[in-house]
Symmetry: C2
Subunit: 236 residues, 2 copies
Amino acid sequence: MLELWELAGRDDVRFSTFSWRTRMALCHKGLNFNAHPVAVSDKQAIAFSGQTKVPIVKASDRVICDSWEIAVFLEREFPDRPSLFGGAAGEQLAYFFNLWTDREIVPGLVPYLMFDVLDCVDEPDQRHLRGQIEGIFNKPLEELYSEREKALQLLGKKLAPVRKMLVRAPFLGGVAPAYADYILFGTLQWARVVSEVQVFAPDDALSDWFSRLLDLYGGVGRSERARGERNREAAE
Amino acid sequence: MLELWELAGRDDVRFSTFSWRTRMALCHKGLNFNAHPVAVSDKQAIAFSGQTKVPIVKASDRVICDSWEIAVFLEREFPDRPSLFGGAAGEQLAYFFNLWTDREIVPGLVPYLMFDVLDCVDEPDQRHLRGQIEGIFNKPLEELYSEREKALQLLGKKLAPVRKMLVRAPFLGGVAPAYADYILFGTLQWARVVSEVQVFAPDDALSDWFSRLLDLYGGVGRSERARGERNREAAE
């Protein structure tokens, strides 16, 4: 049995962009795993890994950190399970897509909705996240949040090449999902779980694709409730 | 035998960014082809294709336009030859890399060195290219050329993810070259053929990779002489 350490907020909400990449990769490989929730600021819980970030995967006595390194590890360690990359060329280009997403998409979305995360986490994590993002952008989270409409428009343009991929095939991996799908899914799932803000319109091709991703592996993505669902339930 | 129509300048210089992608793809597949030079402004020569751009490939009675569509055609038509994409996931992500290169790299380099192309082509083509680029940028080619140092610095930053790929493997296709390599190669080969400007430093990992690409298939890329070589010969 594999072990996964991933971020969790109040009421065990699982919202980590990067942990969702790993979760989907584990499901893609059909591997069972125990998921351990870790609070954002609880660095003690993951001190065993020798670093301060999740996701972390433990397999027997091996500890692997960083979502990309975990994907490569799973591909090498379980070659007889469905491939995450579909070969060497696919792996190199999935790495490129990972870098592109981390450079263009994550910073083009996450800071602008981070204000929404504050009431998904406990007080020490609120301070931690506020300090982290405000330190990078030199602006209060509230101000970044007020810029979200403009940020979302820019994000929509940056995602244009992904829309074009979806004209060719239903997944970024082609006819079947692959790790590239999970890379982008992680960030959009983060947005779905932490915020009611609509990242793309319902008639956007990305919306259909995202829905297909939420349905995979028994609906593991959908089983994590959206912020909107949680809010409606709390209001009842 | 396949037929290829591609741009050519004065003294038969072959400098097209997109035609080099196709040339390398044809060599990768081990296919023989007749290459027909076409002047930039000679739209009559390719009127048979029903459109105005090269590269164009003709196979028996089929005419295929657009370098990406040609690559897909070659992959489908010659499945027993070495694969350009390495499978469905690799093909989707190569398409993404093609879009990224066309959005970020081609416009980040080509306009700034276009002034150098003027004395590689005849007078009608000079007028055509000047009109085209100056129409888009609303600046004389000379002014764009004067901004080249800044543009090259920005390009160097945009290529950072490609450098990271080359830490993992010698080619963008992994241990062996694939179509993704030819996508980027085409633009850098264009720069090498039309300009003496150094796009990257000799100690840049991209320089080693580019050199490996020039050596492929009996040195087909290297056999097209660099602008520097032609200039030195003319000076002798």
